[in-house]
Amino acid sequence: MISLFKRYGTLVGFIAIVAFFWFNLPDTFMTARNWLNISQQISMLAVVAFTMTFVMVMGDFDLSVGSMASLSGITAALLFSQGYPVAAGVAAALAMGILGGFFNGFLVSILGILPFVATLGTLTMFSGLAFWLSDGKTIFGRDIPKTFSGFARGGVDIELAGTLALKIPYLSILALVVLAAVWLVLEQTSFGRRLYAIGGNYEAARLAGVKVRRLRMAAFALTGFGAAIGGLMYASRVASANPTQGSGLMLDAIAAVFLGMTMSEEGEPRVLATLVGVLILGVLDNGLTQMSVDSYIREILVGAIILTAVASSSVGKFRR
């Protein structure tokens, strides 16, 4: 009974949060429109958190995803403003993400720097690079092509009874695609299984012939890639890029994975559980905003919920 509660406590908590808002916002909360809205609001965080799961599976984490997201947006916007086509800007931004991720992986896996220190360092570097490239200014307006910013406004129309009923945003669909890809890689391939093995026991995995260094680099690269996607989504959504716009993503992404970990028996991150973590943060944000709760109080609540979830599970505690 207690272990059941431990395992599903976070899920129960999520349902309780939904029920609470449903009760308090009877007209606006539990509507398809609002949920689509939520899905769009959380899509960027979701992509970053899903791909953050790669490194957290190994027991590492990446603090630099926020500034990588900013850097990716700046990179794309800068190329747009020089007249390059959308595809080129996007490709360059994604390459930047992979490159930065590999750099993180190199620091952690080859040089042996603790992930906390290594990615704290690159957080600062990426952020500085974003400021330097953009000259500290926001890139917006005519510099951002309509095809790029249009993506975030577009969606797939769903017609019901002949009338336009709903529009599923492209951003939400993209997040779902990333979710499916991460799930496939982590759960269905030998690559993913080896990452879990590294997280389960690094030394045992190494002695059993797992190429631990190479895999660790690859996982960091994937996390960097995800951060770059998140950054592009953000830039598209606000039709501009500035060197700080991604910085809020990092803590929320780590928090979402942690919330997800509380649902696993072994305390391991699972990407579907990360989705629940992301939803908790997204729903809270959406509901509390609708109830006009002060944003500072919102932060206090979010922090308290994370701590409650972790405290009531076995994750993140000292093991004997």
Partner: protein, 499 residues
């Protein structure tokens, strides 16, 4: 009258008996040796005396009065002091501070540390040991291992009133010391003895024991076999007491003659930890590696697995030099390895049995693009589980729920997964119950009969003699000799470990 006497000491760890009605008595002012093979129960009784582990039963007296030792503080109050192999020093604090650690520092003006007085107190403690070459103001990290040990001993001299140190328990104190450092330690031991304190000296080094100890107690299989005055005995008798038994017929017989062709060969192999390693192993042959604790047995296997870089000499398998030096390449070349520390180096304890068995074999259980086939995975693990006679609640059970013997079988199943041609086994039956041991011996024999070469280490000497064709003796990181096991007794083998 004895200073300390403990009797009827029994202790078992979840079924495995560590001590069975053992006893030990130590006279005031004597240096008393405690000897026995690995696993004889020496460490357990030290932990019980230190109050770290509780005995299942024990009758202890100090100066003839019954006492209990329930925790470390009580052990300290009885005057027991422990000098461990791994010295707990604080490297960036000064020698004086390390000596005074845990005690209130002398102060000035009620708040500031009185450094002059602190150094003087530490100096006085070292002087009592006639140690004058250590500067109390330098950082402890700058001292040699031997001097760090002297520093720790000095620290035990600083104690108030009733808590005088009366017995020093030294566990393999000279293991990391040079000859000169050892001599200095022996002088200090003599000083301690003159002051009326006793020393319990745990060591494998026969010559030292003969030189500095007054009496010896021998443990075997958790029991006290004998206590002798060292003046009335000799090296051979002590070794006989330590091993005692004959090789029982508890090892499955070899099934096929060993092959003619050499599978593994090393020439003048040197790594960070070992040197001069020179041997050949044929197909179907089992080579043992033996020696005192940490003489380099495990390190030879690590070199063959590609964990420790080969610095000189070379290793050939099938006559061709090994290519890449890493475990991943080794597994690909059908080298399989069983690590010494099953829980730390072998298993992902939280993960399922199937994940643990299949880890090195995921490649061949996947479709294109690395997508795993659940069905192949399941079949593969099932077949191996059956082969090693794993007793579990199904392949999805987490490994931490298994007994030690079954955990070891999981590691074996993993190693046998890809028809290994070279099996590297580091203490393959460590912490395994008798039934599982026999299963493991049978598995080794089977694979050997199928033409694999096996290299194994063990601190269980009868096991080595029972399983191996030849045994390579390591002494302090270097190969000493290779001997045939035909007609070899454990006592003969043990005697080879010593000078």
């Amino acid at each position: 009258m004895s200073f300390l006497e403990v009797a009827h000491v029994s202790k078992s760890y979840s079924g495995a008996i560590a001590l069975k009605d053992a006893r030990l008595d130590i006279a005031p002012g004597e240096v008393h040796a405690l000897m026995g093979e690995n696993g004889a129960g020496k460490s357990t009784i030290i932990k019980i005396l230190a109050g770290v582990t509780a005995a299942d039963s024990m009758a202890a007296t100090i100066d003839g009065k019954p006492v209990t030792i329930t925790d470390a503080q009580e052990s300290y109050r009885h005057g027991l002091r422990f000098i461990h192999q791994e010295l707990n020093i604080v490297p960036h604090l000064s020698v004086a501070e390390n000596i005074m650690l845990g005690l209130p520092y002398p102060r000035r003006f009620g708040a500031l540390v009185d450094w002059r007085k602190l150094n003087a107190m530490a100096r006085a403690a070292l002087d009592k040991l006639q140690v004058s070459h250590i500067d109390t103001r330098i950082k402890a990290a700058r001292l040699s291992t031997g001097d760090q040990m002297l520093m720790k001993i000095a620290a035990t001299l600083i104690s108030a009133g009733d808590n005088m140190a009366r017995l020093y328990v030294m566990d393999e104190p000279t293991a990391a010391l040079t000859g000169a450092e050892s001599r200095k330690l022996f002088e200090v031991i003599d000083e301690l003895k003159q002051s009326g304190a006793s020393i319990l000296y745990v060591s494998h080094r026969m010559n030292e024991v003969m030189e500095i100890c007054d009496r010896v107690t021998v443990f075997r299989d958790g029991q006290t076999i004998a206590t002798r005055n060292l003046s009335d005995t000799d090296k051979n008798e002590v070794i006989h007491l330590m091993t005692g038994r004959d090789v029982k017929d508890s090892y499955p017989p070899r099934r096929a003659a060993k092959g003619e062709d050499v599978l593994l060969e090393t020439k003048a192999l040197r790594t960070r930890q070992v040197r001069d390693v020179d041997f050949q192993v044929n197909r179907g042959e089992i080579l043992g590696i033996a020696g005192l604790a940490d003489a380099g047995q495990s390190a030879v296997l690590l070199a063959l697995l590609g964990v420790d870089r080969v610095q000189a000499g070379h290793v050939t398998i099938h006559g061709s030099p090994i290519a890449a030096q890493n475990p991943s390449a080794a597994w690909r070349n059908h080298v399989a390895y069983i690590p010494r520390e099953r829980r730390r180096e072998g298993l992902m304890l939280q993960r399922r049995i199937v994940d643990n068995i299949n880890l090195p074999h995921l490649q061949k259980l996947s479709f294109a693009a690395g997508f795993l086939s659940r069905r192949r995975e399941r079949r593969f693990a099932d077949a191996l589980g059956k082969k090693v006679r794993l007793k579990s609640g199904g392949m999805n059970q987490a490994c931490y729920q298994l007994s030690g013997g079954n955990q070891q079988k999981v590691v074996f199943a993993r190693a046998l997964g890809d028809a290994p041609e070279l099996l590297l086994l580091d203490e393959p039956t460590r912490g395994v119950d008798v039934g599982a041991k026999f299963d493991i011996y049978t598995l080794i024999r089977e694979r050997s009969a199928e033409g694999a070469a096996v290299v194994m280490t063990s601190s269980d000497l009868p096991e080595l003699i029972g399983m191996c064709d030849r045994i390579l003796i390591m002494r302090e990181g270097a190969q000493h000799s290779i001997i045939e096991t035909d007609g070899l007794s454990p006592a003969d083998l043990l005697a080879k470990f010593y000078d």
